[in-house]
C-alpha cells in the first residue's frame, strides 16, 4: 500500500478552528501515444473525424477478432519510461479489466495490471504559486506506467433519452502514468502535470494537448493532520486543465475537512469535477465500485523486450527539458525565470540557439573557428547547436590546437545571448501571441541577428529597434533593408546634432534659462532634440552636447 512520509510545507497547510490539515495528492495521468494507428488494430487515430469511420472489427469488439500489438506504442512507452527515470520491465503482459459500459464494446479494457511495461521512477517538480513565486523543488515518485486502450466517446446531448456512441477513439493507445501520493498542494499537482507534459512533448511520445483530451488527469485527494494517519481518498475523474486540477483539489480538500470536522466520515468514491460550478460531485460510490476481475488476456502473448532494443532507445533520447534548462542557465547566463520560459519547447529552443550562435559567430568573425574546437574546462564548456556541421568542426580542429582556451569569448556569448533572449521573450512572444503564431516561427523569420548588429554598431538606437522589429514581423525585409529604406540610421554626425540642439535651445530660451538652475529639465531638451531628429539622433551625443550648451 501507499505511504506518504513527507509533510507539507507549513504554507500549504489548511488551518481551521480545530487545527491544521494537509492535503495528500496522487495522480493518474492518461497520455495518448502519438501513434498513427491504434494499440491493437490498424485503424487511424486522427482527431475529429466523422463518427465510426476509424473503427475496425477489432475495435468494435466483434467476435473472433484478434488484437496485434503496435510496436511503435511499445517503443514510446519505453521512451517515456526513461523520461521518468524509471525502471523498464523487459517482461510485461496485457490483462483484461472487465467492466460494462456503452462505449466499451469488448466488455473489457485491455490494460496492464500485474506486469506493467514501466516500473518505479522519479521526477523533480518546481511548484509555482499564484503570484509566480517559485517554491523548493519536490521529488515525486512514479509508481508505474502501463499501456492500455482508450474507450469510445458517448454523446448524451443528441437525444433526450438515448446515448450516441462513436468508437473512433476506442482502442487508441494510452500510457497511464501513476504517481505516488507525493504531492501536498494544488500547485504541486499542477506543476507535476506540467512537468509530465513537458517530458512527453520533448520525447514526442504524446502531443500533450489537454484541450483535445490527449492528456488528462485523475486526481486522488485525501486530507490528514500534518504527518498523521492517511485519510480516506476520493478520486476525481478526467480533469483536463491545470487550473481545473487546482480548483478540484481545493474544493475536494475543503469538502473532506468540513465532513471530518462535523464528525462525519469520508466515503471512498469516484467523483466528477464540474468546471462551471467549480465543484466535485459523486459519480459512483464504493458500493457500485467496480470489481474489475482482472486476468491475463488470452488473446495476447507477453511482451518480451531485448536489452539491446531498450538500450538503443536510451542512447537516442533527446535532451530533456530540465537538462536543457540547466544548460541554458549555465551556458547563456540566463536567470531561472527566463530559462523556464525558453527551454521547454524543443523547437523554440533550437531556433533560439541557432540564432544566438549565428549572431555570436558573426560577432567573433575570424575568431569563431576557435569556438568549434573548444574543449576547455567544464564550467566554460559550450555545447554547439546541431546546425554547426561536424565537418566544420573537423576542419577547425586541424587549424587550432584542441585545448584552445575560449573563456575569453564567454562574455561576448553572454552579451549576444542576453540580447537575443530578451528580444525573444519580449517582441517575439508578444507578436506571436497577437497573430497566434508559433514563437519559433516568428523567431525564425525575423532578422534578430541583423537587429542585434544594428544596435551593437550604433546604426540605430534601441528606441527605434522595436519599430524595425514590427516591420520585420510584417515581412518587410531584413533589419538592414528596413533601416536603409526608411532612413532610420542614427545621426552620429556631431555637427548635425549640434545644429538641432541649437535650434531647440533657441526655440525654448526661457526653459533653457531655467535648466541652468534645474538640471532635471535636461530630459525635456533631450526629448525635444530626439523628436526633431525623428528619433534618429544618437542619445549619448545629444546628452553630451546639450550639457555643454546649457552649461550643466
Amino acid at each position: 500500500m501507499f505511504i506518504a512520509p513527507r509533510v507539507a510545507d507549513k504554507k500549504d497547510w489548511i488551518t481551521t478552528d480545530t487545527g491544521d490539515w494537509e492535503i495528500i495528492i496522487g495522480l493518474e495521468v492518461h497520455a495518448q501515444v502519438a501513434s498513427e494507428s491504434k494499440l491493437f488494430s490498424g485503424s487511424a487515430t486522427e482527431y475529429g473525424s466523422a463518427p465510426n469511420t476509424q473503427v475496425s472489427l477489432v475495435d468494435a469488439g466483434m467476435p473472433g477478432m484478434l488484437p496485434v500489438v503496435n510496436a511503435y506504442c511499445i517503443e514510446q512507452a519505453v521512451k517515456t519510461g526513461y523520461g521518468l527515470n524509471a525502471k523498464i520491465n523487459l517482461f510485461s503482459r496485457f490483462d483484461r479489466k472487465n467492466y460494462f459500459y456503452v462505449d466499451l464494446p469488448q466488455g473489457y479494457q485491455i490494460s496492464q495490471f500485474e506486469h506493467p511495461i514501466v516500473g518505479e521512477g522519479e521526477i523533480e517538480i518546481l511548484p509555482i504559486d499564484g503570484d509566480g513565486n517559485v517554491g523548493d523543488p519536490v521529488l515525486v515518485g512514479i509508481e508505474r506506467l502501463h499501456l492500455e486502450q482508450d474507450a469510445g466517446k458517448s454523446v448524451h446531448d443528441l437525444s433526450p433519452d438515448e446515448t450516441y456512441v462513436d468508437l473512433n477513439r476506442c482502442g487508441v493507445a494510452l500510457m497511464e502514468i501513476v504517481s505516488k501520493p507525493d504531492m501536498r498542494s494544488p500547485e504541486e499537482a499542477s506543476a507535476y502535470v506540467e512537468k509530465l507534459r513537458g517530458i512527453v512533448r520533448a520525447l514526442g511520445t504524446c502531443d500533450g494537448d489537454m484541450e483535445k483530451g490527449n492528456l488528462r488527469a485523475d486526481v486522488n485527494v485525501s486530507v490528514r493532520r500534518p504527518g498523521g494517519e492517511l485519510g480516506t481518498r476520493c478520486e476525481i475523474k478526467n480533469v483536463n486543465s491545470m487550473r481545473f486540477i487546482r480548483q478540484a483539489i481545493n474544493f475536494e480538500a475543503r469538502r473532506h475537512i468540513d465532513i471530518l470536522e462535523a464528525g462525519g466520515e469520508i466515503d471512498q468514491e469516484t467523483r466528477l469535477f464540474d468546471s462551471v460550478k467549480g465543484e466535485t460531485r459523486t459519480m459512483r460510490s464504493k458500493e457500485d465500485a467496480h470489481d474489475y476481475r482482472y486476468f491475463p488476456d488470452p488473446d495476447l502473448l507477453p511482451i518480451k523486450l531485448e536489452q539491446s532494443f531498450v538500450d538503443k532507445i536510451k542512447a537516442n533520447l533527446p535532451e530533456m527539458p530540465d537538462v536543457r534548462k540547466a544548460r541554458f542557465m549555465q551556458q547563456y547566463d540566463m536567470d531561472e525565470y527566463k530559462a523556464r520560459l525558453l527551454s521547454p519547447d524543443q523547437r523554440l529552443a533550437n531556433v533560439l540557439e541557432d540564432t544566438i550562435f549565428e549572431t555570436f559567430s558573426a560577432r567573433l568573425g575570424d575568431r569563431s573557428k576557435a569556438i568549434l574546437t573548444y574543449t576547455g574546462s567544464n564550467e566554460n564548456k559550450i555545447k554547439l547547436p546541431l546546425s554547426v556541421k561536424s565537418s566544420e568542426v573537423e576542419k577547425a580542429t586541424e587549424l587550432l590546437h584542441s585545448n584552445y582556451d575560449t573563456s575569453e569569448f564567454i562574455p561576448e556569448l553572454h552579451d549576444v545571448a542576453k540580447a537575443i533572449n530578451n528580444w525573444t521573450l519580449g517582441p517575439v512572444f508578444e507578436f506571436a501571441s497577437k497573430s497566434s503564431e508559433d514563437p519559433a516561427d516568428v523567431l525564425k523569420r525575423t532578422d534578430l541577428k541583423g537587429l542585434y548588429f544594428a544596435i551593437f554598431n550604433d546604426t540605430i538606437s534601441g528606441k527605434i529597434a522595436k519599430g524595425v522589429f514590427e516591420k520585420m514581423f510584417a515581412g518587410e525585409g531584413t533589419a538592414d533593408e528596413i533601416i536603409e529604406r526608411d532612413g532610420l540610421k542614427q545621426v552620429t554626425d556631431m555637427g548635425a546634432i549640434e545644429a538641432m540642439v541649437d535650434e531647440v535651445i533657441a526655440g525654448n530660451a526661457a526653459q533653457a534659462e531655467k535648466a541652468k538652475e534645474n538640471p532635471k529639465l535636461l530630459g525635456f531638451f533631450v526629448g525635444q532634440v530626439m523628436k526633431a531628429s525623428q528619433g534618429k539622433a544618437n542619445p549619448q551625443a545629444v546628452n553630451k552636447i546639450l550639457r555643454e550648451k546649457l552649461g550643466l
Binding site: S35, E36, S37, S41, G42, S43, A44, A50, P51, N52, T53, Q54, V55, S56, L57, V58, D59, A60, V68, V69, N70, A71, Y72, C73, I74, R93, N98, Y99, F100, Y101, V102, G107, S154, V155, H156, L158, S159, D161, E162, T163, Y164, V165, D166, L167, H290, D291, R293, P296, P298, L300, L301, P302, I303, K304
Partner: protein, 100 residues
Amino acid sequence: MAHPKNGVTAEDVKKIAKLSRLHVEADRLQPIAEDLNGILGWIEQLGEVDVEGVEPMTSAVDMAAPLRADKVTDGGKRDDVLKNAPKSDDGFFVVPRSVE
C-alpha cells in the same frame, strides 16, 4: 463430485450477474452456483499436478507477442461496423441513455 472449499455462493452469482449485466431469476441463483462449483471442482483436479519449479505461463506457447508496424491499414468501414447495431443514426451507435 467434490466441491471446492469456499466455493461460489448464490450471492456471488448474483453479484457477477449484475457486473456482467445478465438477468438471472432468483430461483436460478442456487442451481447456477452449484453448476459452477461442479466445474470448479473438476478444474481443481489440476492442482494434483506437480508444477514445482515451472514458471507460470499465460499462454500455451512460450514465445513473445508478434508486433506490427504503426501503419493505418484498417477502418473506413463505418457501415459494416454499424450493420449489427439495433439502432444507429448519423453514423453513431444509438443505445439507451447511459447517464441520468
